[in-house]
Assembly symmetry: C2
Homo-oligomer: 517 residues x 2
């Protein structure tokens, strides 16, 4: 019988945990809805105890996203676990995922705990979590570098304590597939109560082996894989969901296993996450890279024309790679606009829809054919869900060979209109310096990327900037992502910068209730 492998998506938790990965609450909700459309089994929505914002994001996902089990991460501490349970309360099905490191190096240098104390704390945490739900997952952090005997004792203990899923993380991305498969085989052979829990794996990609390690574990008995869209996450990231899912589908008879993911949604999900986070997907990325289905060599093209199977092991359609040409234009009404967005996985509030539709009309006036990719940018820009402390009223600029670039900017600052002129090394520099002077905000530009979203020179350009707040010491230093889209890239640059500044100002008004100890 074909085994069912559960897909546990952690894009919103481990995926978010990388420079550039952070998402605001609206963005997390949008991604969670897409994950529900993909039909994942479990969505790990966040780490509620880590900040008030994280708590609130998990609460909203739990309340609004139906279908998958909603999980929250918690350290093996009662406060953490209670906080996660509270954030998850409104979900249809709740999972609490608690963890504690079991490798000698982590126990000795990070936790400063003896193995016996770790075992005891792990079991106690699981028991405590069971007060809130029957669905409890435990992760012995750094399992792949843990002493096998001790790992077996911990796994046995937490299952006795009530853990229904035991997740084996390769926390530092150190394992090799054959070795990692052997670890799963050992647990199945040596832990007497192992049949009472699902074995899960959580692999990191430091050596490029996260997907291969996960698949080796599935072949030897793992029943759940933890992964992220596009493989985003700490350092070199996590196992990429799209690769796990398609490997199991293409090689179903080899693995004798399958997932219930709707693979035709993979491409859209990849684009959504890339757009929201600004984390690019390289063209040679498996499954979802721009070139993944592009056959270049003459010999290959010749073979494909004779028989597709010569060079194609899966069809582009199976991952949802289809050309959507010109779905909307100047004539499109609000209804058509809303239903296209819904098909793409966006469910906006009426207020957000109004703002987004207005922006869409402006774009449609400028460029006639509005593609899906343009819509993603329009939504990203219009529905940021942050207060517009600074609003661009107008912008003029000019420059050229031998001239100093000049910008003239009008901003609405909390209802008051202000105007100022400025110069810079380039038109973007002139705009950014002038905005900084007008707002009095101090920040550093960490990255600035422009991409033309659709082909042609009249394409909508999308600018993504990342800024870092200056001052406040290393600990308090946060980064903010801004998006702006316009057919004029200088205009898009100004919008993106203001968007990031608005997020920075909005965050200053929030205070985390919990500190990360």
């Amino acid at each position: 019988m074909t085994r069912q492998i559960r897909i546990f998506d952690t894009t919103l938790r481990d995926g978010e945990q990388c420079p550039g990965g952070s998402m605001n609450r609206d963005e997390k909700l949008t991604v969670a809805r897409m994950l529900a459309r993909l039909n994942v089994d479990i969505i790990e929505a966040g780490f509620p105890f880590s900040s008030a914002d994280n708590f609130e994001a998990v609460r909203q996902v739990a309340q609004e996203v139906k279908g998958p089990v909603i999980a929250g991460l918690a350290r093996a501490k009662e406060n953490d676990i209670r906080c996660a349970a509270e954030a998850l309360r409104a979900a249809e099905q709740i999972r609490i995922h608690t963890f504690l490191a079991t490798s000698t190096i982590h126990m000795r240098h990070k936790l400063k705990m003896e193995p016996a104390a770790v075992l005891e704390a792990a079991v106690a945490a699981v028991k405590y979590a069971r007060r809130f739900t029957d669905d409890v997952e435990f992760s012995p952090e750094d399992a792949s570098r843990s002493d096998p005997d001790f790992l077996c004792r911990v796994v046995e203990g937490v299952i006795d304590g009530g853990a229904t899923t035991v997740n084996i993380p390769d926390t530092v991305g150190y394992a090799i597939p054959s070795e990692f498969g052997d670890l799963i085989r050992m647990l199945k052979a040596r832990v007497p109560n192992i049949h009472r829990a699902v074995i899960s794996v959580h692999c990191h990609n430091d050596l490029g082996l996260a997907v291969a390690n996960s698949l080796a574990a599935v072949a030897l008995g793992a029943g759940q894989v933890e992964c992220t869209i596009n493989g985003i996450g700490e350092r070199a990231g996590n196992a990429a969901m799209e690769e796990i899912v398609m490997a199991l589908r293409v090689r179903k008879s080899y693995f004798n296993a399958e997932t219930k993911i709707r693979t035709e949604v993979l491409t859209q999900a990849s684009r959504l996450v890339s757009n929201i986070t600004g984390l690019l997907v390289q063209p040679n990325k498996a499954i979802v890279g721009a070139n993944a289905f592009a056959h270049e060599a003459g010999i290959h093209q010749d073979g494909l024309l004779k028989d597709k199977r010569t060079y194609e092991i899966m069809t582009p359609e199976s991952v949802g790679l289809v050309e959507h040409r010109m779905v909307l234009g100047r004539q499109s009404g609000r209804h058509a606009f809303r239903s296209r967005l819904a098909q793409m996985g966006y469910a906006l509030t009426e207020e957000a829809l109004d703002r987004t539709f207005e922006h869409f009309k402006q774009v449609a006036d400028q460029k006639k054919e509005v593609f899906d990719e343009d819509l993603v940018a329009i939504v990203a820009e219009a529905s940021q869900g942050v207060a517009q402390t600074y609003l661009l009223r107008s912008l003029h600029y000019q420059s050229g060979s031998g001239l100093t670039p000049m910008a003239s900017i009008e901003l609405d600052i909390l209802g008051r209109t202000e105007k100022q002129d400025g110069t810079g090394d380039g038109p973007v520099d002139a705009v950014y310096k002038t905005i900084r002077a007008m707002t009095g905000l101090d920040c550093r530009l960490l990255s600035y990327v422009v991409s033309a979203i659709t082909g042609g020179t009249d394409a909508l350009g999308e600018v993504t900037v990342r800024i870092e707040e200056e001052g406040g010491g290393d600990a308090g230093r946060k980064t903010f992502l801004g998006h702006g889209a316009d057919t004029d890239i200088i205009m898009a640059s100004a919008k993106a910068y203001l968007n990031a500044l608005n997020k920075m100002v909005a965050t200053r008004q929030q205070n985390p209730v919990h500190s990360n100890d």
Copy 2:
């Protein structure tokens, strides 16, 4: 005893074989020099028979790059092989790499040959290649989907015929590590003369498993790995060299094998190839991604401060990730400039150095601190090695809210100065439309990416465009990449576009001598 694994780099052959991967001769030479610095064992410089340009690129690499063996690809045909041998003639050590498909689906539908004829042609090709060199490699294309008995017969036959390396390709990226390892084990067990050849592997990444498959093969006896920088190549690409090399280094005791790659050059090589091709490396790419060594979570940072080994399995320094801050500035002379470039792997002709240095001085005037990343962009822009049919003399532009973007451009067109004004949907569109009107060239913009190379708003912006020639039918349609760098992104956009157009015009004057049948 630790086994030595040979690294066969195919960045210049299979790597180039993807949309966006194509390089001109100067660019190939620059990459080949970097590969020699990395200390790769074999450089596959190209497929000489495929075009006059490819032939010439292989010839130049063979003549100018010393250290590694230089290989050329050839189908199992005398003309192909003779052509490769001719292109390689000046190399210190020559390898001819010939191939023929052995899977039923390829033999039946693509080659339309019986297995017996395939075996005979493969052996004959190897024997013919041995007339030109003692170092002959044979690849049974689509080996992982070939009938095992037939594959064994072909491998035995070509070794008897004189092949010193037998390369087992997973051409369509279909294999799973345990299965691919078993294939290597089978060949070692069943092919009686297998000890007379080195077993090589060549894996594709369609399911995200190219690196894992290569490593599984190494563990079971393969002595050579074919790979590319950043894993670029057909579709989802090839095995990434940096991942293979670092996995073997970090897990040396597991594999009991090593390569002679200078790992500290990996980051620089990655950036060079990404910059030359315009193929971006995603931030979560293992080893060379921007986030590969970035620890984000509070818990991880806390662990790292207590003991680096808690979350770090290799140091950033081991892959050459070190911060080069302000190496050059306005005061830097030609000598300092040249030696910094040489350290980075660039060896320019005097003429190219003059052009590049002049451009460097302009940049240094604008931005004071010139980082290594800026130098890469400056070199990319200045040393394209193409005739400057169109040269930008001056550019002025202006626009703003409610205005139509305007551009005024002066070009030198083969010595004659022409001037024209134009408008567009944005400043870049205005510039590109005006340039198209002035040159009369017909092309389509496929992609347009701007990146700020170094931090700060006075960063040097680099624009990379890809254009496609219009007309001429599908077969003749070529794409061209253009680079431009300037502190003013509109200026950089103009330069990049002209660079691509100059390449397009230059290519029109060349005719391929061989056609790809």
